[in-house]
Amino acid sequence: MTNVIELKNLTKCYGSLRAVHRLNLTVGEGEIFGFIGPNGAGKTTTIRMMGGIILPTQGEIHIDGISMAADPVEAKKRIGFIPDRPFLYEKLTGREFLRFTADLFRVDSNLFGEKSEEILKMFSLGERADELIESYSHGMKQRLVIGAAILHDPRVLIVDEPMVGLDPAGIRLVKGLFSRLAASGTTLFLSTHSLEMAEDLCHRIGIIHRGALIATGSLDELRRLARVQESDLEAAFLKLTEEEVLS
C-alpha cells in the first residue's frame, strides 16, 4: 500500500508549551485513520499542521509524496480540509461557496455544474443552495463544508471532528460517504472524540496524549496493547491514557 500521508518527527511548540512532540506516522492509500485523544492532547494542532494552516516547529509533512514545507500549494491541491467549526463566508450562497471552492482548486467549469448539483443533492442542500450561508444552521454549514472539501476529488481528506453539529441522518450519510471514498482510494485522516465512530469507521487508530503518539494499530492491536478483555475501544483508550499519566 502506497503511503499517502507521512509525518516525520512532527513537533509544534507554542512558547514553552509543547503541543505536539516528535510525531511519526504514515497512512496508506484508501485507509481511514482515526486520531483520538483526550481534550488538549494535540489532535487539532496536528490536523492544522497537516492542512497547511499552521507551520510545524520541527519535522516534515508529506502529502502524496509532496512536502508541505517545500511546495504547500501543490500539497494543498491534494487535500480536502474539514475544520471542526465551519466558519464560512456568510454573505455567499451555498452554491456560490461551492463555485468559489471549485475555482480555488481549479475544478473544470464543465464538470462543476453536474458535480455541485450532485453534492447539493447528496447533502440535502439543493432547496436552499441559493440562500445566503448566514441563514444556514450549524449542521447545514458543516454539510456544506464537507461537500466543498470533496468537490475536487482530493487524494486526502483531513477531517477535524466530522460529526459535530450533524443530525443522525447526517451522521449516517457522512459515515457512508467516508467508507465509499476510502473504497475508491481516498485516504482519510479523522480526528475525533467519538470512540464509537473511530471503532465503526477506521481501519487504524492512533492515540495521541500530551502531544505524543502513544499507540497506533487496529482495534484488536490496541486492545492487546492495553491488555484489556472488553471488546470496545473505550476501555483500551482509558487504560492507555491512564497508564501514560501514571508513567
Partner: protein, 567 residues
Amino acid sequence: MRDVLTLLRPRFLSMKNRMASGPGKGRLLARLVYGMAGFIFWAGLFSLFYRVLRYFKNVEVFGDLLAFKLLAMSLITFFSLLIFSGLLTALSKFYLSRDLPLVHSLPVTPEKIFFARWVETSVDSSWMVIAYSLPLFLSYGIVYKAGALFYATLLLNLLPFCLIATTFSTLLILSAAPILPAGRMRSLFFVLGVLIFLLLLVAFRLTRPERFANPESFATLLVYFKDMEMANSPCLPTTWFFDGIRSALAGVAGKALFHTALTWSFCGSLICLASWVSGPLYLKGLSRAQAVQGKRIGFKVPGGFQWADPFRRLPGPVRAFALKEIKTFLRDQTQWPQIFLLGALIVLYLYNFSVLPLERAPAQIVLLQNLFSFLNMGLAAFVLTAISARFVFPAISIEGGAFWIVKSAPLSAGRYLWTKFFIYFVPLFLLSELLIIATNILLRVTPFMMALSVITMLFLAPGVVALALCLGTLYPDFSSENPAQSVTSLGGLIYMTLCAGFIAAVIALEAGPVYTIFMGAMRGGSLSIAQWIWLAGSFSAALILCVTAFAVPMRMAVRSLDEKLDG
C-alpha cells in the same frame, strides 16, 4: 432588583478584568493617542462655544436671542442623536447580542432581562453625547456667570433627558421588532439615518452659507431673525430642558424646578410604559429576530450578461477570491450607508471647487487656479487614504473566522495578497483620477498641471493602497464583530500617519520644481541648466519614493502573511 444587578455584573467584571490585565503596549499607545485626540476635540468644542457665546453676548438686541436659539437647536440636535444612537444600541442589546441565548436560558423573567438591557442601552447610547454636550453647557455657565442653580438644574435635567430619548428608542424598537426582523431593521435605520444626515449636509451646503458674508443678503437675515423668535413646541422634552436651563440662568428657581419636575415625571411615565409593554412585546420580537433572511436581492440583465462574466478569464484561484470579495462587499448592508456618505462627500468636494470665487481674488487667476490644482492633488490623495483606511485596511481582518479557508487553499500568500491589491486598487485609482480630472476641469487649469496631477496620482495611488494592505496584514483583527472598526487600532493609526507623511513628501518634492516652471513661464524666460538638474532630481526622488511606498509594503505584507501560517 438583585437579578437585574446580577445580569449587569458580567459587563462590570469584564471591564474590571480588562483593566486589571492592562492593555498591550500597542493598545496603550493607541488609547493614549485617541484619548488625546478626544480631549483636544472636547477642548476645541469648548473654545468654539465659549468664543461664539461671548461674541453673541456683546451683540446688542440680537445677542441673547441668538445664544438661546443656539441652545434650543443644540438640544434638539442632542436629542436626535440620542434617539438615533439609542435605536441602534437597543436593537443590538435587545435582539442581536451574542449572549442573548445564554441570558434567556437563565431562570430570570423577561422583564428583568429587559430592564438590565435597558440600563445598558441607556448608558452606552448616552455617555458620549453627555461628554460632548458639556462644553456647550459649561460655556453658557461661564459666559452668563451662572450660579449653583444653573449647574444643579443642568445635572438634574441631563439624566432624565437622556433616559427619555433612550426609552423612546427602546419603545420604538420593541414595537417594530415583532413586525420586522432585527437584522433588517438595523440596516434600515442605519441607511435612513445616514440618508437624512446626507440630505441635511447637502441642503446646508447648497444654501451656500458663504453668501452671508455678503451684505446684500442682510434683508434675508432680518426675516430669519423674525422666524427665530417663534417659540418651540411645549410638548417636546427639549423645550422643558431648554426652559429649565433658561430659567436657571435667569435665577428664577421656581420655574426651573417646575420644568425639571415636568421632565422627571414624563421620564418616569415613559419608563413605566416601556416596562409594561416589554412583557407582551419583547419575547415576541426576540423570537422573530432569530429568523435570518436568507434570500438575496438580485436581478437579471437582458441578453444573459452577468457582471461576473469578465472575471471568467482570470485564473481560478484569483477569480475565486475576486468574486468572493466583491459579492461579500456588495451584500453587506452595513457598507451601503458608507458608500452613500462617500458619494455625497465627493459631490460636495466637487461642488466646492465649482463655486470658488477665483475671479474676485486679488492674485492672478492663472496662478491661483494652478495653486489650487496643486493643493488638490494632496487633498485627493488624502481622500484616497481615508477611503483606503475604511475599505482596504480591514481587507485581511474581514476574512474573520473564515481565514482557515485562505490558509488551507492551494494559493500562495503572495498571489492572495496581489488579488486583494488589484480588487481594491482598480476602483480606488479610477475614483482618485476622476476626482483630480473633474476638479482640474472645474478650475480650468493649464494642460501641464492636468498632466502632472494625473501622473502624480497614478504613482501615489499604488503606494496608498499597498500601505493600507500592508498595515492591515501586520495588524489584523480576525475576532472583531465589525472589522471595519479595526482602522481605529494602532495599525490604523500608523497607516494614517505613514500615508500622510508619504503624500506630504511627494507633494513637497514636486512643489519647488512646479513653482519654478510656473514662474519661468510667467516671466517668459527659460530655465537654467542647474534648475533643470534640480527639477529632474526632485521629480526622480518623488518617483523613487512612490515606487518604494508600493514595493516595500507589498513585500512586507506577503512575508507577514506567510508568517501568520505559523499562528
